[in-house]
């Protein structure tokens, strides 16, 4: 184990180096660029044994790692914002093709108009691609989640996206610890795929289907995406046993004791929310923080279990569903908790769009406004 003082992008690149990745394809985009640069440097310096394809677009980055995964390589790419949107077609393809892949997405606002700062619109727009989405909030959590993502993707054969907020996390320097090689090998053994696109195995893949073949493929994907949530929690616990480090399962929870107001959010906002909870608690408001780590599959039952009778759920979305009350988290939460509509109160807002600063005082203020609304 060694201690590093570095950025979120450094934590991400180091985890990829340590995970014995075979193949990386990447295209630069702010605020992800340092990941593409650092991995290229590790390989050039000879401290990482992988091949690197400096592609001409994100569509090609995703196409390249999908094919590389098919031949049985452990693969990685990183992107942000428009780059993720440009990959959209291949995201569907890779999940449908059950290709194990890990991608880091450095959350950033989408065009138009141009904006470089933190926003979850890029990631939530990929909700229905079949990918597993993990959202992180610190450099340590990025490092640990990238290792976890490889373990999960290779077990469930569904690609995994690890998200962290542009600049707020990607460019913030924080101390974090890496993992020794022998411990990584114990946690993440070499990738042993169940099939390969290779003449030794034979076969043609991705052939045309009629609906009677297509439907079972889709049913198995949605069933396995759901199950992947349990795999994430199990792998997080295994990681905790090995390293002592724990960032949460589906949720990172804060001050749940005797709480009746639950402040739900994702990403770096979820960490700032802990300070907002402290401010509210000081005023005697029984608030708690729920930082969602697994956005896909959305943990319906697990969210419900966290909420006692009569709880009030206050949802903070760093994204917008245009024309609706707020964002995707609010919609998902309302859908998940529909059976408890007479018991719970749920409201939400969209905040922090385009990197709008979200200090704890502002979050606490927004929480108070929502509390007034639900207490009416």
């Amino acid at each position: 184990m060694s201690k590093v003082f570095g950025s979120g992008n450094t934590a991400c690149a180091l985890a990829v180096k340590d995970a014995d990745v075979d193949f990386v394809a990447a295209y630069p985009i702010t605020p992800q660029t340092a990941v593409a640069e650092k991995i290229a440097a590790y390989i050039a310096e000879g401290i990482m044994d992988a091949n690197y394809l400096p592609v001409e677009s994100e569509h090609s980055a995703a196409s390249a790692i999908a094919a590389a995964s098919a031949v049985g390589a452990r693969v990685f790419t990183a992107t942000a914002s428009q780059g993720l949107l440009y990959m959209h077609e291949i995201l569907h393809y890779a999940a449908g093709g059950r290709l194990p892949m890990v991608m880091a997405n450095v959350n950033r606002a989408v065009n138009a108009p141009w904006c470089l700062y933190a926003d979850h619109q890029d990631a939530v727009s990929q909700r229905d691609t079949g990918w597993i989405h993990i959202h992180t909030a610190s450099n340590q959590e990025i490092y640990d989640s990238i290792l976890l993502a490889f373990k999960v993707t290779e077990e469930v054969q569904i690609p995994v996206m690890v998200n962290y907020d542009g600049f707020l996390v990607s460019h913030s320097m924080m101390p974090f610890e890496t993992l020794d090689e022998n411990k990584i090998k114990e946690y993440l053994p070499p990738f042993n795929p169940s099939w390969r696109l290779h003449p030794q195995w034979g076969g043609t893949f991705g052939n045309v289907t009629y609906s009677e073949q297509y439907v079972p493929y889709r049913e198995s994907l949605t069933r396995d995406v759901k199950k992947a949530g349990e795999v994430i929690v199990r792998c997080a616990k295994e990681y905790q046993e090995l390293t002592g480090r724990w960032h949460g399962g589906y949720f990172d929870v804060y001050r749940l004791e005797d709480a009746s107001f639950f402040l739900l959010s994702m990403g770096s906002m979820g960490k700032e929310m802990e300070l907002a909870v402290d401010l509210l608690r000081k005023e005697g408001i029984p608030a708690a923080g729920l930082r969602l780590r697994v956005f896909c599959p959305f943990p319906k039952e697990e969210l419900s279990v966290l909420l006692p009778d009569g709880a009030k759920l206050l949802v903070f979305d760093r994204n917008l569903v245009y024309g609706s009350a707020a964002g995707v988290l609010l919609q998902e939460s309302r859908a998940a908790l529909y059976e408890r509509r007479d018991d719970l109160r749920i409201t939400g807002i969209s905040v922090g769009l385009g990197g709008e600063d979200l200090p704890a005082v502002l979050l606490a203020d927004r929480a108070r406004q929502m509390i007034q609304e639900v207490e009416k």
């Binding site: 394809l53 094919a67 995964s69 031949v71 043609t204």
Partner: protein, 308 residues
Amino acid sequence: MKIKDLSSLEYITPGTGACAGCPSTIGLRIIGKALGKNTIGFLTPSCAVASMGLTPQTCYTFSALNICFASAGASAGGAAMALDALYRKGKLQGEKPVVFNWVGDGGTYDIGFQGLSGSAERNDDYIHFCYNNEAYSNTGNQRSGATPQFALTTTSPMGKEIGQKNMPLLMLEHRPPYVATASLGYPMDLYRKVEKAKNISGFRYIEIHMPCCTSWRFPPADTIRMSKLAVQTGAWLLWEGEYGKLTLNGVTASLAEGRKKPISMEGYLKLQGRFSTMFKSPEKEKHLALIEANIQRELEFMAGRAKL
């Protein structure tokens, strides 16, 4: 080597869903005999995918993956590079397979062009085969960047207003190790080029002219006749190039050197229903003259390019 001396290896089993007279299946048979068994093929949406059989069946004997339309350059490049890492790291043992793309003109000239250009510039290690039937035949004959001037397609119902781009030359100008054009009418020339490409590493591009009886509207028995006529008229040029250095081959070289006279275009185009509107037009003579002038100009241009 004669055609009867070629390997008995077949890339396609009986039962393919391709049309009678399909040039793509003929082409795949020939390239398979040159490439051998140790290959991985990538296919983008095209007749070659639509006719391969429904999941879990296939008419292909080589390992293949159907990929997205714009993905050919990056997917083949990524797979080849990943294989290189897996063999180097000892995760796979034996002889590394040859990676190839089998992609139509749509996936090459149009939607796949960016990825292919990037891949050629990076010198990714695979062979890209463009099977050029001069239209989106799989979706029912729409115009592509490879459709010639005045040809009818469902999206150029009055005849295409402009001619095709010179895609193989564009690829040659990326200066990759090998670029070649070929014709089903000259199978041993195609075979030689595939065998040559197989023994070169880096980016290799072979474009095969594929007269499509369904889209072009001629009898299925005439696929090879049409392929030969395309070369003999000068409408399709045979050449190969290494690192940007170009050599004209066979009939095309004879036409360029004046040792042979090109066959008239009228005889070639009249056999194709896709030019029926042009032949009924009062401007028929003008259009034919324009086509022949463009072919002559292109031949002179390529002969000049070969001298560089």
